[in-house]
Symmetry: C2
Subunit: 202 residues, 2 copies
DNA sequence: ATGTGCTAGTGTTCGTGTTCACATGGCGCC
DNA sequence: GGCGCCATGTGAACACGAACACTAGCACAT
């Protein structure tokens, strides 16, 4: 199943709830994301029978169910490794906190950047990563260091017992099989765009 | 066909070329990304017969072919809209330029940020977007403004004749059909991770 | 209490993308 | 110059996810 869509539905439901909408049909949800309504129903029915026939889905009930499925009913402490351009943009982004992701420790090898606090969050040298991650029970790590350091950082995170990694470095990194790994590669996104431009120019 | 893989191959070939490797087999490429070797061959054969039977692929030849397919043999001027946290991280990122993407105009509505130059690139108020994009022949736009402004910015980019948009705002934006649209939603990436964590904790 | 209308749930079809397995065809060695 | 090697290219099998179309069940009106 494609989990990404559940996230999209959840965000939409948050909006609908704010707008005071009580129920929503699979049809309406589908139109918002130009999907097929059967798709939406299959996605939702996979995890349980959340809907009411003849009515649709109760917005707040469905929202709560989806949040529980996605693990958004709790707070997730997150470790951010690399406090450069991208790292600090991510840190200052408010959207993560809204979904329960709290960057609760930052690690960077640059002595000029570490051993201080930013908005109450400690910036620490990478050598303290293991201890700090364990002490805080952090399960999610974000890798925002240069490509050449990404594997080393991943190894440190793995050793510290982290369970999931979001990697921004443009390299394929290796992690133990039980660690969930997700790559975000912005160059690739741009390249798919230029591919289509180059093609239609042909 | 999944274009993303072509980008991955290309980056790998760049590395191989630097390392002085002359030829590479589909098998070797596949192992690097744990893919199937038939997959690699299908991907490449789709665009032409680039390989030599019994030998594999000539690294520099294949690299050049893929770059041409992806449109990386030329420079793409890019318009960046929104010069906040994320926008400036993207602007200062060196990786895009390496693939030929050059941010050549920045637009932001905040008067404190615009009407100046950063590293020789003008930061302009959004109202000048149309003129500037046309004048510079920009075909790719990056949307890094808050969600509530994203649709308005998209409309401006569309009116200016842009052909492709990379959107970082966490909303589904609408654009004319002939504009290639790509969304990057980092919250969703984190949520897929927390989904798996929540699931295995169950 | 019964009927009608509406929308969720679901078995099946459909299409795309992946994997398998083999035949094809350059290259170099004899 | 012919022969064997080895990796490509590709048709066929397969798997997965998406779309269709039908069935089931709840709510509300009568
Ligand atoms: N900036 C962007 O917009 C952008 C876009 C796409 C991808 N990326 C990728 O994200 C990563 C970070 O990019 P950036 O622009 O923030 O780079 P940056 O150079 O600004 O920041 C990297 C930070 O990592 C720290 N660091 C280096 N090695 C470390 C280690 N072993 N342990 C801990 N910290 C270490 C450095 O001190 C620095 O502060 C890179 O891999 C880059 O390719 C960035
Ligand atoms: N910062 C991150 O790490 C991050 C991560 C994921 C998603 N995003 C998304 O990226 C977008 C930008 O995030 P940010 O953190 O950079 O926000 P930000 O508030 O730091 O920056 C937004 C910038 O856009 C400008 N702006 C607003 N409306 C505009 C308009 N109509 N025309 C031109 N410029 C306009 C503002 O002046 C500001 O400079 C948001 O949609 C956010 O949800 C950011």
């Amino acid at each position: 199943m494609t989990i990404r869509r559940l996230s999209v539905y959840t965000r939409c439901l948050l909006q609908l709830e704010e707008d005071g909408v009580k129920t929503v049909s699979s049809q309406e949800l589908a139109e918002r994301f130009n999907l097929n309504s059967a798709q939406v129903r299959k996605d939702l029915a996979y995890f349980g029978e959340f809907g009411v026939r003849g009515i649709g889905y109760y917005v707040s009930g469905l929202k709560a169910e989806l949040q529980k499925i996605l693990g958004l009913h709790r707070e997730w402490p997150v470790a951010l490794v690399g406090f450069g351009n991208l790292g600090s943009a991510l840190f200052h982004y408010k959207g993560f906190a809204r979904q329960g992701f709290r960057i609760s420790a930052i690690f960077d090898d640059d002595p000029a950047k570490c051993n201080r606090e930013v908005n109450g969050v400690p910036v620490l040298p990478a050598r303290e990563l293991g201890r700090e991650v364990k002490a805080r029970g952090i399960q999610i790590g974000i890798v925002a260091v240069p490509a050449e350091s990404a594997q080393a950082v991943t190894d440190q995170l793995a050793a510290a017992g982290i369970k999931a990694i979001l990697n921004f470095a443009p390299v394929r990194i290796r992690a133990p099989r039980d660690i969930r790994l997700k790559d975000v590669d912005l160059s690739i996104e741009l390249e798919t765009l230029s591919f289509y431009l180059a093609k239609s120019a042909r």
